[in-house]
């Protein structure tokens, strides 16, 4: 690692999992004890000061979100951890859960205390069978040692935590779809408002936070919001972040760097060793597959929320997919679009029908049967999906189509005019 402070990544190994390691090497469960000595408002205040922003994709300030929970509620309040990690290109939460599960558990205890919830759920994607088991073992350990359950560490605060497995549906990463799935229903997004903070799980006020977000909380409570905020290099973004890099780089994997501390070029070339086989860079998908694509000329951008927004894309879940010059971008976009067509829940017509139409058009372009008017039609469909659906899946499907066609139009035209992939 380079010379900066990291919170997570040095603990990503099998030895870090037991409670004993967490207590001895990471100051485990001292943060929750400290939080119990603070008022709920003070805990939320520290998290606000930390400039921790949601690590799941939307980047919403965590402290502000917690502040939306009503103090009084007739119905029980819930804290739900979104461990669905299903945005293609994203693979960071899995390592937190399998290597340092107690950090997540403690983050949830603190979050539960801050919002006045006594029941937490970790909604984990169904495929992470092993991680779910490891989390359950860690939760058992925490119960046995008084870090979960009744009267935690003699504080008088009770908090129960349950692991709930999904069953294979990308859409369940969307928080209201996740809540429906938790309730034993189809994972279809809900109409908002009401927002989960008003009426979420089982009708009670609910906060949904990503794994990495909640795992950052013990550090914030122990070392202060200001300290955490200063780990980040941009004013509004506190802490370090886990960046997942995959695709055509020499060293794919996770990198933990200060929020806003690197450009995309530095991440790809300095940290990941550059492009596989020393080929030329063709394209970068910066924040999970729904983030609009960037060309090789656009990577001198600070890799954080606002700088990426400024150039028309997004940080999302910070999963970077790198593509070298010899891979067909038409094929790539077709694959991405096929995914969204497969995962559309079907509630909203523009998304249900439009994603399938876009996939069909892209398939024929990829296979050399594209028509002259196809690109205009593709963009027209994407425009008609964008912003016209209940949840963000529609936008997630439209964004890649619009950006790929705009930035790599020559590649698409070559397929249509030449009747085959020019690289083949």
């Amino acid at each position: 690692m380079s010379n900066h402070e990291t919170l997570f990544i040095q603990h990503f190994s099998e030895e870090s999992r037991p409670l004993e390691y967490y207590l001895k090497k990471m100051g485990g469960y001292t943060a929750s004890k400290k939080a119990f000595g603070m008022s709920q408002d003070d805990v939320i205040g520290e998290v606000k000061k930390s400039n921790l922003r949601g690590r799941g994709g939307a980047g919403f300030p965590t402290g502000m979100k917690w502040g939306f929970i009503p103090k009084q509620s007739a119905k029980p309040k819930y804290l739900v951890c979104n461990a669905d990690e299903s945005e293609p290109g994203t693979f960071k939460d899995r390592d937190i859960m399998r290597y340092i599960p107690h950090l997540l558990i403690e983050g949830m205890v603190i979050g539960g205390y801050a919002i006045g919830s006594h029941q937490g759920y970790i909604y984990i994607r169904g495929e992470y069978t092993r991680e779910a088991k490891l989390l359950e073992q860690a939760i058992d350990e925490a119960y046995q040692n008084g870090y979960l359950g009744k009267n935690i560490q003699g504080s008088g605060f009770d908090f129960d935590l349950t692991v709930h497995r999904g069953a294979g549906a990308y859409i369940c990463g969307e928080e209201t779809a996740l809540l429906n799935s938790l309730e034993g229903k189809r994972g279809e997004p809900r109409v908002k408002p009401p927002f989960p903070a008003q009426a979420g799980a089982f009708g009670g006020p609910t906060i949904v936070n990503n794994v990495e977000t909640l795992a950052s909380v013990p550090f914030i409570v122990n070392q202060g919001g200001e300290w955490f905020s200063k780990l980040g290099k941009l004013e509004k973004s506190g802490g370090t972040r886990l960046f997942g890099v995959s695709g055509h780089v020499k060293k794919p994997g996770l990198y933990e760097l200060p929020a806003g501390g690197v450009t995309l070029r530095q991440l790809i070339f300095d940290h990941c060793g550059g492009i596989l086989g020393d080929k030329k860079l063709k394209a970068v998908i910066p924040g999970g597959s729904s983030a609009p694509v960037l060309t090789a000329d656009e990577i001198d951008v600070v890799f954080d929320i606002e700088p990426l927004m400024k150039i028309g894309t997004m940080l999302g879940s910070a999963g970077v997919v790198v593509v070298s010059e010899d891979y067909c971008v038409v094929k790539l976009l077709t694959r991405i679009t096929k995914f969204y067509a497969h995962e559309s829940c079907g509630q909203c017509t523009p998304c249900r029908e439009g994603c399938q139409w876009m996939e069909d058009i892209l398939e024929r372009i990829e296979h050399g049967q594209g028509r002259e008017q196809d690109l205009a039609m593709l963009l027209d469909i994407a425009n008609n999906i964008n912003g016209r659906t209940l949840c963000a899946l529609g936008d997630a499907a439209a964004g890649p189509v619009m950006s790929f066609v705009k930035k790599f139009r020559a590649d698409f035209e070559a397929h249509i005019r030449g009747g085959k992939c020019p690289n083949a």
Binding site: S86, E127, T129, H164, A169
Partner: protein, 158 residues
């Protein structure tokens, strides 16, 4: 129910989980997982039994079960291969792995071999993009795959 398909341990597991949720329907996903772990797939009879336990109509069970890709509503082979072909895995050669498996097993994606030993499927992103290409074999992950590793793995399965 007279002809119970689900074991005593299934009902014990569910009874333990029940107090953790404010509604019984919240047990539906855990119940379907547990039923599939026991029986390998979810037949109409199993869906009916799960519905009876939860207290909902079998059609409501099917409505939910069919929404999620992990629930097998048809029987699958002893070894269920699910190869991720999403972006990161594609960029690292997942398509070739699928093609190789199809040839080796003599079936197309989505099919099961006649001896019911293998079911082959394409999978959406498994969240293992840094170690692509990746696949699942039943409930386990296999990562950083290549043709040789995949062959070795498949040949080791009895």
């Amino acid at each position: 129910m007279s002809n119970q398909l689900l074991s005593k341990s299934f009902y014990e597991r569910m009874a333990k989980l029940e107090p953790r949720y404010p509604t019984k329907q919240a047990l539906l996903l855990p119940a379907l997982h547990a039923a599939q772990d026991e029986l390998g797939w979810l037949s109409p009879e199993v869906l009916e039994e799960v519905g009876e336990y939860i207290g909902i109509h079998p059609a409501q069970v099917r409505e939910v079960a069919s929404f999620y890709t992990m629930y097998n509503l048809k029987p699958v082979g002893k070894y269920h291969l699910k190869i991720c072909t999403n972006v990161a895995c594609c960029l690292r050669g997942a398509d070739e792995l699928v093609e190789h498996c199809e040839k080796k097993l003599g079936i197309q994606c989505g099919e099961t071999t006649q001896d019911r030993k293998f079911t082959l499927m394409e999978e959406e992103c498994l969240g293992a993009c840094g170690t692509a290409p990746a696949m699942m074999l039943n409930n386990g992950y296999y990562e950083n795959l290549d043709m040789t590793k995949l062959d070795k793995l498949m040949d080791s399965l009895e």
